[in-house]
């Protein structure tokens, strides 16, 4: 089966959505995102049946750039994450009215297209193009459909754009440098390179700048909370659910195998940066009054732990990181959606103005509670599997890393449950809170089902990703 079919579906979907007009846009977008999901499932079956799914077409002769896609287990896991979350995100927006909806939904599909391409690309430059392309739609989504004061939003969004572009341009220079050495942008040729330790360090740092900004890792996180808060919820979901996984995925796929010596030499520094993010994010989250900002900082803490896991260079660390990437993707989308559900009824994001929801809408309360518990990695949820594996791998490197990283669970439990208490419990609020509608319920139930199912039975995903992670580890350890 041709892997580019998924990309084509999403791209055509984006154009079709724009052409059908405002009224039908959301439904057409949902249709195309579901079609992409269906295709990806079929593709996964082909892959599991042992078929090799890759594609190489020459594109530009001089310099030699090819249109190369390759789906190994890792890429397929990320592909499934993207195409599964996209319909959920689109569907969750059905309760809102957007002006110029055709543009809005077309941009969502276009972004899904670019992110899918990033995960599948097997040519450095093609990867870079998709990576940059994903930036344009989210910029416009946050700018045009965002909330809050337009002047502040502009500042936040432009800062975000310039930050991320700055990071990725240095990655581009690194890619060009690698091309000069290897004579090709193809990933397998780049993997074969034997660079000196000094070269590797610079390349590692150039990649690190791009990824640290995208993920974000301290001290490159300053754009994040503001953009998460100002962007429309759909944009926040896309950013936190999928886009930051691009950074984490790229660390595993590109940064570590291309500069293994540097990664080993300075491993402790980068793990420490990740852990610093965990502690910083958790502490700042304690003090947040805005629900979306609180979730943003909690997300910063969780991805800090994932990043630390990737930099351990052990199979457990990588596997835990990928599991936690998927788990975090679902749970963060669920939490932001729950915040949106509350906003639809209370028209506020300020935690102190909420409360008394439990009495009025028990169903929503129980769903929200499950999401909160999943987010703090309660055993039997998917997040537990991921976070535990990562902490285990950290303890192999240095037990203090695990101890400090473990604060994410302790502090996380504290601020999430405190938030739950203020938002949901308490006396009856003056404002009425209708229970979840069927549409909202479907989105939440799907997310919860995924989290609980894989919490009990993560084996399908582990089996899918482990062989490709082992291959990457072999490349890392080849010299």
């Amino acid at each position: 089966m041709n892997v580019s079919l998924i990309l084509i579906i999403l791209l055509i979907g984006a154009f079709a959505t724009y052409l059908v007009g405002d009224k039908l846009a959301s439904k057409v977008a949902l249709f195309f995102s579901l079609a992409a999901l269906g295709c990806s499932v079929v593709l996964t079956n082909h892959f599991l049946a042992g078929e090799s799914i890759s594609l190489i077409n020459a594109w530009i002769t001089q310099p030699k750039i090819s249109f190369a896609l390759n789906a190994d287990g890792l890429a397929i896991a990320m592909l499934l994450l993207t195409v599964a979350l996209t319909p959920i995100i689109i569907f969750s927006s059905f309760g809102n009215e957007y002006k110029n909806a055709k543009g809005f939904y077309a941009l969502i599909l276009f972004m899904a297209f670019a992110m899918t391409g990033t995960f599948l690309a097997a040519d450095g430059l093609l990867y870079y193009i998709f990576w940059e392309l994903a930036l344009i739609p989210i910029y416009f989504i946050a700018l045009i459909w965002g909330n809050g004061d337009s002047e502040e939003r502009r500042k936040a969004v432009v800062k975000f754009f310039i930050y991320t572009l700055a990071g990725s341009l240095f990655m581009l220079v690194a890619f060009i440098y690698l091309y000069q050495k290897a004579g090709s942008f193809l990933i397998e040729d780049l993997y074969k390179l034997n660079l000196s330790a000094c070269e590797q360090l610079w390349i590692f740092l150039a990649f690190f700048l791009a990824y640290a900004i995208k993920i974000p890792i301290i001290p490159f996180h300053t754009w994040q909370a503001n953009v998460y808060q100002k962007a429309p919820t759909v944009g926040t979901m896309l950013l936190s659910g999928i886009m930051l996984k691009m950074g984490l995925y790229s660390v595993i796929r590109w940064q570590l195998p291309l500069a293994p010596l540097a990664a080993k030499e300075y491993m402790n520094i980068f793990i420490a940066l990740g852990i610093a993010g965990v502690i910083y994010g958790s502490i700042v989250a304690l003090r947040q009054k805005d629900l979306k900002k609180l979730l943003a900082y909690s997300s910063l803490a969780h991805v800090g732990l994932i990043a630390a896991g990737t930099y351990t260079l052990t199979i457990d660390g990588l596997r835990g990181a990928v599991l936690q990437m998927i788990a975090h993707g679902f749970v963060v989308v669920g939490l932001f959606f729950a915040a949106e559900v509350i906003f639809r009824r209370f028209e506020t994001r300020n935690i102190s103005e909420m409360g008394g929801i439990r009495i009025q809408s028990p169903k929503f309360t129980s769903m929200f509670l499950i999401l909160v518990l999943a987010s703090v990695a309660l055993p039997s949820t998917f997040n537990f599997v991921g976070e535990f594996t990562v902490l285990y791998s950290l303890s192999q490197i240095n037990v203090w890393f695990a101890v400090l990283g473990g604060t994410t669970i302790i502090l996380g439990a504290y601020y999430m449950l405190k938030m739950f208490q203020h938002v949901m419990l308490g006396d009856k609020n003056a404002k009425t809170f209708a229970d979840v509608t069927i549409n909202e319920g479907i989105s939440l139930v799907v997310i919860i089902a995924v989290l609980i199912f894989f919490g009990f039975y993560p084996k399908p995903i582990t089996d899918l990703i482990t062989p490709s992670l082992e291959t990457i580890l072999n490349v890392i350890n080849k010299n």
């Binding site: 002769t61 193009i129 939003r153």
Partner: protein, 463 residues
């Protein structure tokens, strides 16, 4: 050669139309004529011949760049219809001057003799002086014309002086003869000095720092269409000629023989860095769009100069970069022309809310700005990619890093305009959908994206 004759003939026809009172037909006729010239030019592609004692030397380089100039002129002529609506009696003059300007440009890239080179420059420059001052009753336009003329004549003088020194050193105006002599071991010092003077004159035309002071004022004061012409066609002509000058005279090998190559390269690196940095930093503060694009043009000149560092292999890259830059410029200016028609100035406030009132043109302007900023999938990205690749290969990693930092700065001002279009409320109503402006904008944007999707189409022409 035939191209040059045909273009000149077309210009004369334009003037004749005035006498025959066929003004309405001028623009369609000229566009058709230029398309014919383009076809004629294609037929010469691949042949290398010289005419009239090597006055004109047709080569692959000259034909490909001439094609680019002709395409750009077609766009500019098409935009004239709407721009000169209020001056119907002068349209033949304006169109004819543009055609003559094109003739000058073609002469400049296909010169085989310094006499022809200088003739080309003067034809191009004098046409530009006239066009800059063509809004007779506008004080700013007069100022722009005067300033450009004064500064430009000095530059011409310097070029002429340089040519004299080269003649003194080599005893010939002929490019082939000079290039043969220039490889000999012993050369009078007058040759490199003369060359540097000519290069300085050309850098003035390109508007590279520190020879850029005329550009912002002249761009701002000139009528918008002339600004479009200067920042696309004229700049591309100048940089292509500079490239040809240095490569055809074997200037780099001759410097290598004399051990002066490192000095020359340092000069180019410094000018290139200065151009992009000064251009970008000054552009950040501008509120007038024409002035902003002038500074952006200065910074792009810095990027284009990077091709001079690997002159034996970078002709294709230069062609690609100039095409990408000029097509984006044409698309951007066609929107500027539409938005700022009947306005006293071209301030950013005019663009407020364009995303709501006219999504198509706003998208095209956004696309062209993104292309200039170097965002994929627009051709501007690939232009920068190939350029950086080429320059790193030549061993100038630091220069590329400076260029990358400059690309980041440039996003700041390109996005100022994009933000104004999408995040501000519209402040004026515009009616009418001028067919030709829309056509030019759409076609140039489409070409830009096609170049981005299939870069080899252009890149491989000169490799």
């Amino acid at each position: 050669m035939n191209t040059l004759i045909a273009i000149t003939g077309l210009g004369i026809f334009c003037l004749l139309f005035e006498i025959l009172n066929l003004r309405k037909g001028i623009i369609p006729f000229t566009i058709l004529g230029l398309l014919g010239v383009l076809a004629l030019n294609f037929s010469e592609f691949g042949s290398t011949e010289s005419y009239y004692n090597n006055m004109i030397a047709v080569s692959k380089f000259s034909t490909t760049f001439s094609s680019l100039f002709i395409v750009l002129t077609i766009f500019l002529v098409a935009l004239s219809h709407n721009f000169y609506e209020n001056h119907p009696t002068k349209i033949s003059d304006f169109v004819a001057i543009k055609i003559f300007l094109l003739a000058g440009g073609v002469a400049m890239v296909s010169f085989g003799n310094f006499a022809m080179f200088f003739l080309g420059i003067e034809i191009l420059s004098i046409s530009l002086y006239v066009l800059a001052a063509s809004e007779r009753l506008n004080l700013k336009s007069n100022e722009a014309g005067m300033k450009y003329f004064l500064m430009g004549s000095f530059a011409s003088g310097i070029i002429l002086f340089g040519i004299c020194l080269i003649y003194g050193a080599m005893g010939s105006f002929d490019i082939v003869e000079i290039s043969e002599y220039s490889l000999s071991a012993e050369l009078p010092i007058w040759f490199p000095i003369g060359m540097i003077l000519v290069v300085i004159g050309m850098l003035f035309k390109v508007a590279a720092v520190p020879f850029h002071f005329w550009a912002p004022d002249v761009y701002e004061g000139s009528p918008a269409l002339t600004t479009a012409l200067m920042s696309t066609l004229a700049k591309v002509v100048a940089i292509a000629t500079l490239y040809k000058l240095i490569s055809a005279l074997n200037f780099i090998p001759s410097l290598e023989n004399q051990d002066h190559l490192a000095t020359f390269e340092n000069i180019i690196v410094i000018i290139s860095i200065a151009s992009m940095t000064v251009g970008n930093i000054m552009a950040l503060r501008q509120v007038n769009v024409k002035r902003m694009l002038a500074f952006s043009g200065i910074s792009h000149a810095g990027f284009m100069l990077m091709t001079l560092l690997s002159i034996s292999t970078s002709a294709g890259v230069l062609l690609y970069y100039t095409s990408a830059y000029a097509l984006a410029g044409i698309a951007a200016f066609s929107v500027v022309l539409y938005v700022c028609k009947n306005q006293d100035n071209e301030d950013i406030t005019n663009f407020h809310g364009l995303g709501k009132t006219n999504p198509l043109l706003a998208a095209i302007l956004t696309g062209s700005l993104l292309s200039m900023a170097g965002i994929p999938i627009f051709s501007g990205f690939f232009a920068k990619l190939f350029l950086f690749n080429q320059t790193i290969e030549a061993g100038f990693l630091i220069l590329v890093i400076v260029a990358v930092i400059n690309s980041i700065i440039s996003v700041g001002y390109y996005f100022k305009l994009i933000l104004a279009m999408y995040s501000k409320e519209p402040n004026q109503e515009r009616t009418g959908k001028p067919f030709l402006i829309y056509g030019v904008a759409i076609i140039s944007m489409t070409l830009n994206i096609v170049l981005g999707l299939f870069p080899s189409l252009v890149l491989d022409l000169l490799n």
